[in-house]
Symmetry: C2
Subunit: 457 residues, 2 copies
């Protein structure tokens, strides 16, 4: 990265913070219809900013839902193209009374900016925009070709972006993708995410008698679907956290020795953080394995909800005719949800007690992702991080899914660099969401440097 770019970043950081503040003031909550106009305003803000930076082509892509913002700059014929993804929509703000200042009146305090969307994801998109601006204004050109795709439905299911990626892959053609929408291990230990778990989400309905029954008259002989469901769930996963679904532990997890060494070394640190965050005295499940492994690559099976019978005030002696459960599995990246679903369904049928009917529906499936740390784009990101932070990044796995990353991998077939600058404790979906101003500046430097490192020859 040239001296000029670095100086431009230093000289303009205050203005970038001001710009971010103005963007954060727009309450672009994508799930609430009354905020549709605000979501559009946030999209227009981004379009205008991309035009100011100097992109050749900047446009809104209109569809059924909130618009996509698309920008392209193709001024470096022999250089690679990087596709950058981010989102300009935000989560709802409830519980509002837990915010110490209004979520859409950004507050600067103790080197943090507090606002809804600060870390997820406007602050991190600002990093990208400022890095692009720095190159363009300080050097007069970008070192590589860039495409930018910002969506306004990330917090609302992402239907529009998925449709666009599947239908207009050509517009998104690139050599690699960059997503800044995750967090680092800590402020002193930067990290790059190289793996995401996949997910299989199911709904199970267990049926007993034709109608609800009175436990006085039928209790002891009648099928009780809630009891059957409890027996089933207990058989699918024991107290030891082991999942009893055929083949669930058969996929390779691509965990490198380096990752395992880091995980073992930092096990206690993360355990303590999790215990504090959850306010519990112990973790449950496979306590013989490092927490990072369990959160990042081990399959899980979780019951998300159970509904059935009488749960109001007081005592009603009903035996419910049916009971419902929502159960998901998180999957190692190499395991496709379609391939494990039959085994899951078979495990349910095998383990449901005699005398019950059971329906098993797959509600949702999403593949995981694994990018090798050896990949040249990941290596470039790591080198940029070393340059800014003075520390080698560690490679981490993310337990949740980032559907867009899996989509880029699956549909566009490109390596995805997940380099985020959030920090643990930023509270992306909760009250008092915040983003570190130091991370904002370091992020801009790192991303600008990353661009430069992708320039060949």
């Amino acid at each position: 990265m040239s001296e000029a770019v670095a100086e431009y970043i230093s000289a303009n950081i205050k203005r970038h913070i001001d710009e971010l503040v103005s963007w954060l003031k727009i309450p672009s909550i994508s799930t609430l219809p009354q905020h549709a106009g605000d979501v559009r305003e946030a999209a227009l803000w981004a379009r205008s900013k991309l035009e100011d930076i100097g992109f050749d082509e900047v446009r809104l892509i209109e569809g059924q839902g909130h618009p996509l913002v698309y920008a392209s700059w193709q001024g470096q014929e022999d250089q690679p193209t990087l596709l950058i993804y981010g989102h300009y929509d935000v989560q709802p703000v409830d519980p509002l009374d837990e915010w110490r200042s209004s979520p859409f009146e950004p507050r600067l305090e103790n080197e943090y900016i507090y606002a809804r969307g600060a870390t997820d994801d406007k602050g991190q998109v600002m990093i990208v925009l400022a890095a692009l601006e720095a190159w363009m204004k300080a050097v007069g050109t970008l070192p590589i070709n860039i495409k930018v795709l910002l969506e306004g439905e990330e917090e609302a299911g992402g239907a529009s972006v998925e449709e666009y990626v599947r239908g207009h892959g050509g517009d998104l053609e690139a050599d690699a993708a960059l997503i800044c929408d995750t967090h680092m291990n800590s402020i002193t230990q930067p990290s790059i995410i190289t793996g995401l778990r996949g997910i299989l989400y199911t709904e199970i309905v267990v049926r007993g008698a034709k109608n609800d029954l009175h436990s006085g008259s039928y209790g002891g002989v009648a099928p009780n679907p809630l009891h059957a469901l409890c027996l089933l769930v207990a058989r699918l996963k024991g107290e030891d956290g082991r999942i009893h679904v055929q083949g669930v532990y058969d996929s390779p997890t691509d965990v490198s020795e380096e990752e395992m060494v880091f995980w073992k070394g930092h096990r206690q640190e993360l355990e303590e953080r999790l215990l504090a965050e959850m306010e519990v005295s112990q973790l449950v499940g496979e306590n013989d394995l490092p927490v990072q492994e369990r959160l990042g690559v081990r399959p899980t099976l979780e019951v998300h909800g159970i509904r059935g019978g009488f749960t109001g005030e007081g005592a009603k002696t009903v035996i419910a005719a049916e009971a419902l459960a929502k159960i998901s599995m998180r999957l190692p990246a190499a395991m496709a949800p379609e391939s494990i679903f039959p085994a899951f369904a078979e495990a349910v049928r095998q383990n449901i007690p005699m005398g019950y009917d059971v329906d098993i529906v797959k509600l949702h499936g999403g593949k995981g992702l694994f990018v090798s740390p050896e990949n040249e784009y990941v290596q470039a990101a790591a080198a940029a991080i070393v340059n800014t932070y003075g520390v080698r990044p560690v490679y981490m796995r993310e337990g949740g899914s980032i559907p867009i990353a899996a989509l880029f991998d699956e549909v566009l077939g490109m390596p995805v660099v997940l380099m985020g600058f959030g920090l643990p404790g930023d509270g992306p979906h909760g009250p008092n969401e915040k983003f570190s101003l130091m991370q904002l500046e370091k992020g801009i430097r790192t991303v600008a440097d990353f661009f430069g490192r992708l320039c060949r020859g």
Copy 2:
């Protein structure tokens, strides 16, 4: 029973049906405030009828809720006193669209009367009223002393009657009680109920993390109270129906050899009826024991409801902070709910997985009841049944609780004769509730005969 009483019953049966129709027309739904006036009207109807029969003292007992109807006739100084209980309130009528005729426009068809309250309990109280009338009008006196207590809150918790029984036991002093509010084994096999199970009803709340968590970020290490609840329930009762609570099988059940012989002989018949009623292919639980034993005297443990997490449309990857279950146990008559609750609570604490907090609350407890078939009042009832039906009654146990029966036993210390004339299939709480007109007439004859048999010397 004198010829005169029998003739009076035959001569007046049509009028008694007309009277029952007029009473059934009053929609005395005790749980719905908008029907409070109707409930009162049904009470006044009963008061008026008791006055017409010729009781010395007839009055409404007013309290917080619906009134009690009390009547007393003490014209036989040297004879025993029988306390007769019934209720004049009825269940709500939903689902209304499943009724083939309006629930409060009684319909006579195929020797049945269809209406809400037909079998539960106005039709059965009509049996008692007609039997009393027959004695009084045909003979000019009752053979024994009689007290009548009718309540209007049986379907709404019975608070008023409980308060009255506990506070005014003297007014209810008697040698025995008769309750006609149950059903017989079949129209050809009359039965008397000699045992009721008790009940212990609890609510359990399992707590994990302080707040709901995202399964992507925490799944695999976070406590999941729904999973813990499933493990707990599976440990409290297995697929084999055995309950794992210390001491639950230690109480004597007072099952006579005669009862066991009947249960074994009629096991298949009842099993087939239950399978048809529930529309299931098999019974669950302790299938090595006769159904009658399992429904009548074996302890049960049933989950009545589970609530927790996300159960709406679609997929939400939440790990709930807490989960709730309603769990009851039905108890052998000799086992007090207060005595088994500590063992139940201990079993919950022992079986909840590590890493969870659990609250266990006793919501409700009710003692069961056992009256020996050798009791002279039960013997008199049996003899009256033989006289009317030409068949010896069998002694049955009722799986549900009849709180008033346990209350008479506990507070008033008198033997309770549970001689009901309903039939399986009458559908007391469902649509198209009905009562057999043949049972109405046979019931009047049986009860009138029973009164005569209690007359000494």
